[in-house]
């Protein structure tokens, strides 16, 4: 397999990128496709972020000031769909496209045309999803979890919602197949599976999760579609169906989905912390086993999202114990990162700062996760702002911070220039302060009894909501610095090939910026790495 690909590329050795728009429309180069994924993800991050600004503006003080409740519900629904499927997942696929071939010494992704296809489906999917904002009946407002029967009350937007979710799923599955085939077949000859960099490992596991669960989501939404238009009653009590069955199917997808969004983040952080600690990653193999255990457990914990739905006691017990078990491998990962830092020689460039904040704040999200696992306490937390605080802690200073850390870490390799470190640090501190100001008070709101997904609230919740809204606006504005840092990086000083003093791995053996075609003959991974020591 790998020799065939290498042979094919022999003829293109001197070819640069195609000229004009065709370079992007017909892109098969993993670096171009990676760039498109990353730009797409950043765009969606701002669109989803604008929706978050609408939500937080409305919630800043009690009373209804700006939007009607229907539109408010559309905003929470669309914010979640866009951030999950449009911002976080494509960002990791973008990083995978750019970095996996460079890290394993492959000339490109294994299936370049499918790679093109899996990217170009996304703008179509999100074009359709966003167009529902202008349809009679408004955009979907039943929550991103799409629980029936409520979601069946969606107006004209309903079939478009289902179709766009199908497209997102197809795109993810194709991306995942590509990642698996590339990793299994195209590694440098002397790179055994257990010698693979952590980012490659976590993506390999993530890709299997994607292939396992995206079809389940597709099945669930297809059943919604037939319930609505073709007279079936999968989820309709009146026809003998069961609305709770949808929740089971959805969360069988939804919980692995959570790890799809965090495992590559673990990978990114596991690359960055050793670099800036100038010390090898502690417990590489146990990190692999921990990530695999998390992936396995993610399939048997889904009903912890449903402790209030009315389950048999034994069912609740099983899902509670299984959920608590996840704390063990997750703990191993955190301890290993701390052990990597221990007795290192640390410096604190922007990627490292984001990674450190990741370890701190993801752990706080993990703690609230452990609290949520306890079923009786979950009955109080469920569907309140405590849950909102929990998943935003693991997703924003978790996944999103890891993406940003990765972007800063590899930006010099992508552009050939160093970004402005002062601006990077400003972006980091502004983001970290505001993210806590936004999401920490939400723990208190939830414990005090504020349900989620409400456009207006009783006056005793006023103070913390105002604080959270101020934090959210601050966090939103801080992200403009990020865009500025990226744009200004093209004028930054020239980056060396290795970029960072402590970096290891094949991606740092190629020039900065990485040439259009790399590793047309497979490298020797071990020798390349020894050269750094």
């Amino acid at each position: 397999m790998s020799t065939t690909v290498a042979d094919l590329h022999e003829h293109h050795e001197d070819h640069g990128p195609a000229k004009g728009i065709g370079r992007w429309l017909f892109a098969t180069n993993h670096k171009d496709i990676g760039t498109m994924y990353l730009i797409f993800s950043l765009t969606m991050f701002f669109i989803g972020g604008a929706m978050a600004m609408v939500i937080r503006s409305e919630l800043a003080i009690p009373g209804l000031q700006f939007v009607h409740p229907e539109f408010f519900n559309s905003m929470t629904t669309m914010h979640a769909l866009i951030m999950v499927f449009g911002a976080v997942m494509p960002a990791f696929v973008g990083l995978a496209n750019w970095m996996i071939p460079l890290m394993i010494g492959a000339p490109d992704m294994a299936l370049p045309r499918m790679n093109n296809w899996s990217f170009w489906i996304l703008p179509v999917a999100f074009g359709i999803l966003l167009s529902t904002l202008f349809m009679p009946g408004g955009a979907p407002a039943g929550g991103w979890t799409m629980y029936p029967p409520l979601i069946l009350q969606t107006g004209d937007a309903f079939p478009f919602l289902i179709f766009s979710v199908h497209l997102m799923g197809i795109s993810s599955i194709m991306g995942a197949i590509n990642v698996i085939v590339t990793i299994i077949n195209m590694r440098a000859p002397d790179m055994s599976l257990l010698k693979m960099p952590m980012f490659v490992w976590t993506w390999l596991i993530t890709a299997y999760l994607l292939i396992a669960v995206m079809p389940v989501l597709a099945g669930a939404v297809t059943m919604l579609l037939t319930d609505q238009f073709f007279g079936t009653s999968f989820f309709l009590a009146a026809g003998g169906g069961d609305p709770v069955m949808f929740q089971h199917i959805f969360w069988f997808f939804g919980h692995p989905e959570v790890y799809i969004m965090i495992l590559p983040a673990f990978g990114v952080v596991s690359e960055i912390i050793p670099t800036f600690s100038r010390k090898p990653l502690f417990g590489h193999d146990s990190m692999v086993y921990a990530a695999s255990s998390i992936a396995f457990l993610s399939f048997i914990v889904w009903a912890h999202h449903m402790f209030t739905v009315g389950m048999p006691l034994t069912g609740q017990m099983f899902f509670m114990f299984a959920t608590m078990l996840i704390a063990v491998p997750t703990g191993v990962k955190i301890f290993n990162w701390v052990a990597t830092m221990w007795r290192g020689a640390m410096t604190f460039e922007t990627p490292m700062l984001f990674s450190l904040a990741f370890v701190f704040l993801f752990t706080i999200g993990g703690f609230s996760g452990l609290m949520l696992a306890a079923a009786p306490a979950d009955i109080q937390y469920h569907d309140t702002y405590f849950v909102v605080a929990h998943f935003h802690y693991v997703l924003v200073p978790g996944s999103v911070f890891a993406i940003m850390a990765g972007a800063y870490y590899w930006l010099p390799k992508w552009t050939g220039h160093m970004y402005n470190e002062t601006l990077g640090k400003l972006h980091f501190w502004a983001s970290t302060i505001f993210v806590n100001l936004t999401f920490f008070p939400m723990h208190f709101l939830g414990l005090a009894g504020m349900p989620r997904r409400i456009p207006d609230y009783s006056t005793q919740f006023a103070d913390f909501n105002t604080v959270a809204s101020i934090g959210a606006i601050g966090f939103g504005l801080s992200q403009l610095i990020f865009v500025w840092v990226i744009l200004s990086a093209w004028k930054g000083s020239k980056a060396t090939d290795r970029v960072w003093e402590g970096s290891h791995g094949l991606e740092w053996t190629v020039p900065s910026p990485a040439p259009y075609h790399t590793f047309e003959t497979p490298p020797k991974a071990r020798i390349a790495n020894e050269a750094f020591d």
Binding site: P62, H284, L370, N436
Partner: protein
């Protein structure tokens, strides 16, 4: 720095009471099980604090001491089986210590046998319907008029001037003190969720399914809650108010409701 903020917030959390503004913690509630739930919540919270102090402590020491700017030569170790076995085993032990009392409470929560009274709770978009099973009492309970006017977009009414803004209803549920009340919860349209924090009860109202839960209130008073599952545009406007009164007063309430029953029950049937 983050840990400092966390700790100071923690101290604040302990000093405050549940009902005050800036409320920080879960209410202890008015049933035995709500207190048990609160205790479980606090037990896991303190475990998290303890783990956090150790993990973040080690990390902060490392961040302060092991810097390149201090001229540290980096160590080269990359694994230690002993350390890894220890930090896999300790969490397992902690989890078992947590899981046992939690499981005990779960068993009690599910035991709705031998109730003193049973109430059928039905969720509607967007109000609740209550039917006392052994009495001839049934009524809808909707958002109170004062809030209905204030809740409109740019209503010009100050929410702070409305008593219990969005948390008041026209007809509250009335239950006797110290009686085991069984709730049979279902829905007429979409999924709702019946939640009163002081009772530590949250149970989804699912069309086609009757869910069971129970409580035994130990304090007289008025307690408020809300629908907790997104149920459409007025999801935020279907509160729950429950009044716990002395058994004699409850009997009197039942008698007066029965006299007035045709008006309300008739509208329902």
């Amino acid at each position: 720095m983050i840990r400092k903020v966390f700790l100071s917030l923690l101290v604040l959390g302990i000093c405050s009471t549940a009902k005050a503004e800036w409320a920080l913690n879960m209410p202890k509630g008015i049933t035995e099980l709500s207190l048990e739930t609160y205790n479980i919540h606090m037990m896991i919270f303190w475990w998290c604090v303890a783990i956090g102090v150790v993990v973040f402590g080690v990390m902060i020491v490392s961040l302060v001491k092991h810097r390149k700017s201090k001229g540290v030569k980096p160590a080269t170790f990359s694994h230690s089986t002993t350390a890894e076995v220890i930090w896999t085993t300790i969490p397992v032990v902690i989890l078992m210590l947590i899981a046992i009392p939690v499981a005990e409470t779960m068993v009690k929560l599910e035991d709705s046998r031998n109730p003193d009274i049973s109430i059928v709770v039905t969720g509607y978009q967007w109000k609740w319907h209550y039917k006392y099973q052994d009495e001839d009492i049934a009524f809808f309970s909707s958002l109170a008029r004062s809030s209905v006017e204030a809740r409109r977009k740019q209503s010009g009414v100050d929410p702070f001037a409305v008593d219990n803004y969005l948390l008041d209803v026209d007809r509250p549920v009335v239950v006797p003190l110290d009686a085991k009340v069984r709730l049979l919860i279902t829905s007429n349209d979409v999924v709702h969720s019946w939640w009163v924090p002081d009772l530590a009860i949250k149970k989804d109202a699912v069309p086609g399914i009757v869910n069971e839960t129970w409580f035994k209130a130990t304090e007289v008073g008025t307690y408020r809650g809300q629908c907790a599952e997104l149920c459409g545009k007025d999801h935020g406007y279907m509160p729950i108010v429950i009044e716990v009164i002395e058994p004699e007063a409850y009997q009197a309430w039942v008698d007066t409701r029965k006299e007035g029953a045709p008006r309300i029950a008739g509208a329902q049937q």
